[in-house]
Symmetry: C2
Subunit: 177 residues, 2 copies
Protein backbone atom coordinates (compact mmCIF):
# COMPACT_ATOMS: atom_id res chain seq x y z
CA UNK A 1 0.00 0.00 0.00
CA UNK A 2 1.44 3.33 -1.05
CA UNK A 3 1.46 5.79 1.81
CA UNK A 4 1.99 9.49 1.56
CA UNK A 5 3.33 11.08 4.71
CA UNK A 6 2.52 14.76 4.86
CA UNK A 7 2.52 17.45 7.49
CA UNK A 8 -0.53 18.91 9.19
CA UNK A 9 -2.13 21.43 8.57
CA UNK A 10 -0.74 21.51 5.04
CA UNK A 11 -2.11 18.01 4.74
CA UNK A 12 -5.58 19.13 5.78
CA UNK A 13 -5.60 21.91 3.24
CA UNK A 14 -4.27 19.69 0.50
CA UNK A 15 -6.76 17.03 1.42
CA UNK A 16 -9.71 19.40 1.35
CA UNK A 17 -8.46 20.75 -1.96
CA UNK A 18 -8.37 17.23 -3.36
CA UNK A 19 -11.83 16.61 -2.04
CA UNK A 20 -13.31 19.47 -3.99
CA UNK A 21 -12.24 17.61 -7.11
CA UNK A 22 -14.26 14.64 -5.85
CA UNK A 23 -13.19 11.19 -4.73
CA UNK A 24 -14.13 7.80 -6.03
CA UNK A 25 -16.52 5.41 -4.36
CA UNK A 26 -15.14 3.61 -1.34
CA UNK A 27 -16.52 0.53 0.35
CA UNK A 28 -15.72 0.35 4.05
CA UNK A 29 -16.20 -3.29 4.73
CA UNK A 30 -17.11 -6.70 3.48
CA UNK A 31 -20.79 -5.88 3.83
CA UNK A 32 -23.03 -8.94 3.65
CA UNK A 33 -26.53 -9.79 4.78
CA UNK A 34 -28.10 -7.63 7.47
CA UNK A 35 -28.74 -9.58 10.67
CA UNK A 36 -32.06 -9.76 12.51
CA UNK A 37 -31.62 -6.47 14.37
CA UNK A 38 -30.71 -4.66 11.16
CA UNK A 39 -33.93 -5.33 9.26
CA UNK A 40 -34.81 -1.65 9.16
CA UNK A 41 -31.28 -0.63 8.33
CA UNK A 42 -29.61 -0.19 4.96
CA UNK A 43 -25.91 -0.77 4.46
CA UNK A 44 -24.13 2.13 2.82
CA UNK A 45 -20.65 3.03 1.63
CA UNK A 46 -18.80 6.33 1.64
CA UNK A 47 -19.46 7.60 -1.87
CA UNK A 48 -17.58 10.88 -1.59
CA UNK A 49 -16.22 13.52 0.77
CA UNK A 50 -16.48 16.95 -0.77
CA UNK A 51 -17.16 20.60 -0.12
CA UNK A 52 -20.78 21.66 -0.56
CA UNK A 53 -20.43 23.95 -3.60
CA UNK A 54 -23.04 26.37 -2.22
CA UNK A 55 -22.05 26.69 1.44
CA UNK A 56 -18.41 25.56 1.27
CA UNK A 57 -19.12 23.24 4.22
CA UNK A 58 -17.62 19.73 4.01
CA UNK A 59 -20.13 16.99 3.37
CA UNK A 60 -19.85 13.21 3.36
CA UNK A 61 -22.07 11.37 0.90
CA UNK A 62 -23.27 7.93 1.97
CA UNK A 63 -24.80 5.71 -0.70
CA UNK A 64 -26.66 2.41 -0.52
CA UNK A 65 -24.91 -0.58 -2.12
CA UNK A 66 -27.35 -0.54 -5.07
CA UNK A 67 -26.35 3.10 -5.62
CA UNK A 68 -29.96 4.26 -5.76
CA UNK A 69 -30.08 6.68 -2.79
CA UNK A 70 -27.43 9.11 -1.51
CA UNK A 71 -27.50 10.61 1.96
CA UNK A 72 -25.54 13.85 2.47
CA UNK A 73 -24.28 14.56 5.99
CA UNK A 74 -22.64 17.91 6.64
CA UNK A 75 -19.59 17.61 8.87
CA UNK A 76 -16.68 19.62 10.28
CA UNK A 77 -13.52 20.16 8.21
CA UNK A 78 -11.37 18.16 10.64
CA UNK A 79 -13.80 15.27 10.43
CA UNK A 80 -13.82 15.53 6.62
CA UNK A 81 -10.04 15.14 6.61
CA UNK A 82 -10.32 12.32 9.16
CA UNK A 83 -12.68 10.42 6.84
CA UNK A 84 -10.88 11.22 3.57
CA UNK A 85 -7.28 10.61 4.66
CA UNK A 86 -7.44 6.79 5.02
CA UNK A 87 -9.55 6.52 1.87
CA UNK A 88 -6.90 8.47 -0.04
CA UNK A 89 -4.20 6.36 1.68
CA UNK A 90 -2.70 9.47 3.21
CA UNK A 91 -0.97 9.21 6.54
CA UNK A 92 0.28 11.98 8.76
CA UNK A 93 3.58 12.27 10.58
CA UNK A 94 1.78 11.93 13.88
CA UNK A 95 -1.44 10.05 14.68
CA UNK A 96 -4.51 12.25 14.33
CA UNK A 97 -7.29 11.94 16.92
CA UNK A 98 -9.27 9.25 15.05
CA UNK A 99 -6.05 7.33 14.41
CA UNK A 100 -5.40 7.43 18.15
CA UNK A 101 -8.92 6.15 18.86
CA UNK A 102 -8.35 3.33 16.36
CA UNK A 103 -4.92 2.50 17.84
CA UNK A 104 -6.30 2.42 21.41
CA UNK A 105 -9.22 0.16 20.41
CA UNK A 106 -6.85 -2.27 18.67
CA UNK A 107 -4.45 -2.17 21.63
CA UNK A 108 -7.18 -3.15 24.10
CA UNK A 109 -8.64 -5.66 21.64
CA UNK A 110 -11.91 -3.89 21.00
CA UNK A 111 -13.50 -4.53 17.60
CA UNK A 112 -15.77 -2.04 15.83
CA UNK A 113 -18.64 -4.33 14.80
CA UNK A 114 -20.59 -1.72 12.85
CA UNK A 115 -21.66 1.90 12.89
CA UNK A 116 -25.26 2.97 12.43
CA UNK A 117 -26.55 6.43 11.52
CA UNK A 118 -29.78 6.18 13.43
CA UNK A 119 -31.69 9.41 13.25
CA UNK A 120 -32.00 12.98 12.02
CA UNK A 121 -33.60 15.39 14.47
CA UNK A 122 -33.59 19.19 14.19
CA UNK A 123 -30.99 19.08 11.44
CA UNK A 124 -28.66 16.96 13.58
CA UNK A 125 -27.70 13.42 12.62
CA UNK A 126 -27.23 10.80 15.35
CA UNK A 127 -25.19 7.63 15.22
CA UNK A 128 -24.32 4.60 17.30
CA UNK A 129 -21.02 2.80 17.47
CA UNK A 130 -21.22 -0.96 18.11
CA UNK A 131 -18.13 -2.33 19.81
CA UNK A 132 -17.14 -5.80 20.97
CA UNK A 133 -14.48 -7.05 23.36
CA UNK A 134 -14.52 -10.81 23.81
CA UNK A 135 -18.14 -11.67 24.50
CA UNK A 136 -18.97 -8.21 25.80
CA UNK A 137 -20.74 -5.79 23.49
CA UNK A 138 -21.03 -2.02 23.80
CA UNK A 139 -23.22 0.56 22.08
CA UNK A 140 -22.02 4.17 22.19
CA UNK A 141 -23.90 7.28 21.02
CA UNK A 142 -21.76 9.51 18.79
CA UNK A 143 -21.70 11.88 15.83
CA UNK A 144 -21.89 10.19 12.41
CA UNK A 145 -18.61 11.86 11.36
CA UNK A 146 -16.70 10.21 14.22
CA UNK A 147 -18.40 6.88 13.55
CA UNK A 148 -17.61 7.02 9.82
CA UNK A 149 -14.01 8.12 10.46
CA UNK A 150 -13.62 5.03 12.63
CA UNK A 151 -15.39 2.77 10.12
CA UNK A 152 -13.05 3.72 7.28
CA UNK A 153 -10.07 2.89 9.52
CA UNK A 154 -11.37 -0.43 10.78
CA UNK A 155 -13.33 -1.70 7.77
CA UNK A 156 -16.50 -1.85 9.87
CA UNK A 157 -19.70 -1.74 7.82
CA UNK A 158 -21.81 1.42 7.91
CA UNK A 159 -25.59 1.23 8.16
CA UNK A 160 -28.25 3.94 8.14
CA UNK A 161 -31.86 3.84 9.24
CA UNK A 162 -33.81 2.88 6.11
CA UNK A 163 -36.65 5.20 7.07
CA UNK A 164 -34.27 8.14 7.48
CA UNK A 165 -32.43 7.28 4.26
CA UNK A 166 -35.68 7.41 2.31
CA UNK A 167 -36.71 10.68 3.99
CA UNK A 168 -33.41 12.59 3.87
CA UNK A 169 -31.66 10.80 1.00
CA UNK A 170 -31.50 11.92 -2.62
CA UNK A 171 -32.85 9.32 -5.03
CA UNK A 172 -30.95 8.61 -8.25
CA UNK A 173 -32.19 10.78 -11.08
CA UNK A 174 -34.10 13.09 -8.74
CA UNK A 175 -32.76 16.64 -8.44
CA UNK A 176 -32.54 17.69 -4.76
CA UNK A 177 -34.91 20.50 -3.80
Amino acid sequence: MLKKTIRFPAAALLCLFLLTAGCSTFSTGPGGEASADERQLTEVKVKQVMLDPESGVPVVLLQDLEESVTLPIWIGSNEAVAIAAPLERMSFQRPMTHDLLDIILKEIRVTVVKVVVTDLRQETFFADLYLKRGRKRYQVDCRPSDAIALAVRTGAPIFVSTEMLLKAGIKKGVKPS
Copy 2:
Protein backbone atom coordinates in the same frame (compact mmCIF):
# COMPACT_ATOMS: atom_id res chain seq x y z
CA MET B 1 -21.60 21.96 37.90
CA LEU B 2 -22.90 24.66 35.61
CA LYS B 3 -22.90 23.49 32.02
CA LYS B 4 -23.36 25.61 28.96
CA THR B 5 -24.74 23.77 25.97
CA ILE B 6 -23.84 25.45 22.72
CA ARG B 7 -23.80 24.53 19.08
CA PHE B 8 -20.73 23.71 17.01
CA PRO B 9 -19.05 25.45 15.16
CA ALA B 10 -20.38 28.58 16.86
CA ALA B 11 -19.08 27.03 20.06
CA ALA B 12 -15.61 26.60 18.61
CA LEU B 13 -15.46 30.19 17.47
CA LEU B 14 -16.82 31.49 20.75
CA CYS B 15 -14.41 29.32 22.65
CA LEU B 16 -11.40 30.50 20.66
CA PHE B 17 -12.58 34.06 21.13
CA LEU B 18 -12.74 33.53 24.87
CA LEU B 19 -9.30 31.99 24.80
CA THR B 20 -7.75 35.11 23.37
CA ALA B 21 -8.81 36.87 26.55
CA GLY B 22 -6.87 34.26 28.52
CA CYS B 23 -8.06 31.56 30.91
CA SER B 24 -7.20 30.92 34.51
CA THR B 25 -4.88 28.23 35.76
CA PHE B 26 -6.30 24.72 35.74
CA SER B 27 -5.00 21.69 37.56
CA THR B 28 -5.83 18.41 35.84
CA GLY B 29 -5.43 15.94 38.62
CA PRO B 30 -4.59 15.22 42.21
CA GLY B 31 -0.89 15.24 41.40
CA GLY B 32 1.33 13.76 44.10
CA GLU B 33 4.78 12.27 44.25
CA ALA B 34 6.33 10.99 41.06
CA SER B 35 6.79 7.24 41.10
CA ALA B 36 10.04 5.43 40.38
CA ASP B 37 9.70 5.57 36.60
CA GLU B 38 8.90 9.29 36.70
CA ARG B 39 12.14 10.47 38.27
CA GLN B 40 13.08 12.51 35.24
CA LEU B 41 9.59 13.83 34.74
CA THR B 42 7.98 16.99 36.05
CA GLU B 43 4.27 17.22 36.75
CA VAL B 44 2.58 20.16 35.06
CA LYS B 45 -0.85 21.73 34.87
CA VAL B 46 -2.63 23.44 31.98
CA LYS B 47 -1.90 27.09 32.67
CA GLN B 48 -3.71 28.54 29.69
CA VAL B 49 -5.03 27.88 26.20
CA MET B 50 -4.67 30.94 24.02
CA LEU B 51 -3.91 32.20 20.54
CA ASP B 52 -0.26 33.02 19.89
CA PRO B 53 -0.49 36.81 19.44
CA GLU B 54 2.15 36.76 16.70
CA SER B 55 1.11 33.80 14.55
CA GLY B 56 -2.55 33.49 15.56
CA VAL B 57 -1.95 29.75 16.09
CA PRO B 58 -3.52 28.18 19.21
CA VAL B 59 -1.08 27.29 21.94
CA VAL B 60 -1.46 25.41 25.19
CA LEU B 61 0.77 26.54 28.06
CA LEU B 62 1.86 23.84 30.50
CA GLN B 63 3.39 24.98 33.77
CA ASP B 64 5.16 23.11 36.56
CA LEU B 65 3.37 23.02 39.92
CA GLU B 66 5.86 25.51 41.41
CA GLU B 67 4.95 27.87 38.55
CA SER B 68 8.58 28.47 37.66
CA VAL B 69 8.71 27.15 34.06
CA THR B 70 6.09 27.34 31.28
CA LEU B 71 6.15 25.10 28.23
CA PRO B 72 4.27 26.36 25.16
CA ILE B 73 2.97 23.71 22.76
CA TRP B 74 1.40 24.87 19.51
CA ILE B 75 -1.69 22.87 18.61
CA GLY B 76 -4.57 22.76 16.12
CA SER B 77 -7.69 24.88 16.65
CA ASN B 78 -9.93 21.84 17.12
CA GLU B 79 -7.57 20.50 19.75
CA ALA B 80 -7.48 23.92 21.45
CA VAL B 81 -11.27 23.82 21.76
CA ALA B 82 -11.09 20.19 22.89
CA ILE B 83 -8.75 21.17 25.74
CA ALA B 84 -10.47 24.44 26.68
CA ALA B 85 -14.10 23.28 26.60
CA PRO B 86 -14.03 21.02 29.70
CA LEU B 87 -11.89 23.56 31.57
CA GLU B 88 -14.46 26.26 30.81
CA ARG B 89 -17.23 23.77 31.72
CA MET B 90 -18.69 24.06 28.25
CA SER B 91 -20.50 21.11 26.78
CA PHE B 92 -21.70 20.60 23.24
CA GLN B 93 -25.01 19.27 22.02
CA ARG B 94 -23.25 16.19 20.67
CA PRO B 95 -20.09 14.49 21.92
CA MET B 96 -16.97 15.83 20.26
CA THR B 97 -14.22 13.37 19.24
CA HIS B 98 -12.28 13.57 22.53
CA ASP B 99 -15.54 13.23 24.46
CA LEU B 100 -16.24 10.07 22.48
CA LEU B 101 -12.77 8.72 23.26
CA ASP B 102 -13.37 9.47 26.96
CA ILE B 103 -16.83 7.85 26.88
CA ILE B 104 -15.50 4.70 25.16
CA LEU B 105 -12.63 4.35 27.64
CA LYS B 106 -15.03 4.68 30.59
CA GLU B 107 -17.48 2.23 28.97
CA ILE B 108 -14.80 -0.46 28.61
CA ARG B 109 -13.36 0.36 32.04
CA VAL B 110 -10.04 1.72 30.88
CA THR B 111 -8.42 4.30 33.17
CA VAL B 112 -6.07 7.02 31.96
CA VAL B 113 -3.24 6.69 34.48
CA LYS B 114 -1.20 9.65 33.25
CA VAL B 115 -0.04 11.42 30.13
CA VAL B 116 3.58 12.26 29.48
CA VAL B 117 4.98 14.78 26.99
CA THR B 118 8.16 12.92 26.28
CA ASP B 119 10.16 14.67 23.62
CA LEU B 120 10.58 17.53 21.17
CA ARG B 121 12.19 16.59 17.87
CA GLN B 122 12.29 18.76 14.73
CA GLU B 123 9.72 21.15 16.19
CA THR B 124 7.30 18.29 16.89
CA PHE B 125 6.28 17.34 20.42
CA PHE B 126 5.70 13.69 21.29
CA ALA B 127 3.58 12.24 24.05
CA ASP B 128 2.61 8.92 25.59
CA LEU B 129 -0.73 7.94 27.02
CA TYR B 130 -0.63 5.49 29.93
CA LEU B 131 -3.78 3.40 30.22
CA LYS B 132 -4.87 0.67 32.62
CA ARG B 133 -7.59 -1.96 32.46
CA GLY B 134 -7.64 -4.25 35.46
CA ARG B 135 -4.04 -5.37 35.89
CA LYS B 136 -3.15 -4.77 32.26
CA ARG B 137 -1.29 -1.59 31.37
CA TYR B 138 -0.91 0.04 27.97
CA GLN B 139 1.34 2.79 26.64
CA VAL B 140 0.24 4.55 23.45
CA ASP B 141 2.22 7.09 21.40
CA CYS B 142 0.16 10.19 20.58
CA ARG B 143 0.19 13.94 20.03
CA PRO B 144 0.38 16.04 23.23
CA SER B 145 -2.84 17.86 22.28
CA ASP B 146 -4.82 14.60 22.22
CA ALA B 147 -3.19 13.45 25.45
CA ILE B 148 -3.94 16.75 27.22
CA ALA B 149 -7.52 16.86 25.89
CA LEU B 150 -8.01 13.43 27.44
CA ALA B 151 -6.26 14.39 30.69
CA VAL B 152 -8.53 17.39 31.28
CA ARG B 153 -11.56 15.12 30.83
CA THR B 154 -10.36 12.31 33.07
CA GLY B 155 -8.38 14.21 35.70
CA ALA B 156 -5.25 12.24 34.83
CA PRO B 157 -2.00 13.98 35.80
CA ILE B 158 0.17 15.46 33.06
CA PHE B 159 3.94 15.06 33.15
CA VAL B 160 6.65 16.38 30.87
CA SER B 161 10.25 15.30 30.45
CA THR B 162 12.22 17.47 32.88
CA GLU B 163 15.10 17.74 30.44
CA MET B 164 12.79 18.94 27.67
CA LEU B 165 10.97 21.33 30.01
CA LEU B 166 14.25 22.99 30.92
CA LYS B 167 15.33 23.17 27.27
CA ALA B 168 12.08 24.32 25.64
CA GLY B 169 10.34 25.93 28.60
CA ILE B 170 10.27 29.62 29.48
CA LYS B 171 11.59 30.35 32.97
CA LYS B 172 9.71 32.80 35.17
CA GLY B 173 11.06 36.31 34.74
CA VAL B 174 13.00 35.40 31.59
CA LYS B 175 11.76 36.95 28.35
CA PRO B 176 11.49 34.31 25.59
CA SER B 177 13.94 34.83 22.72
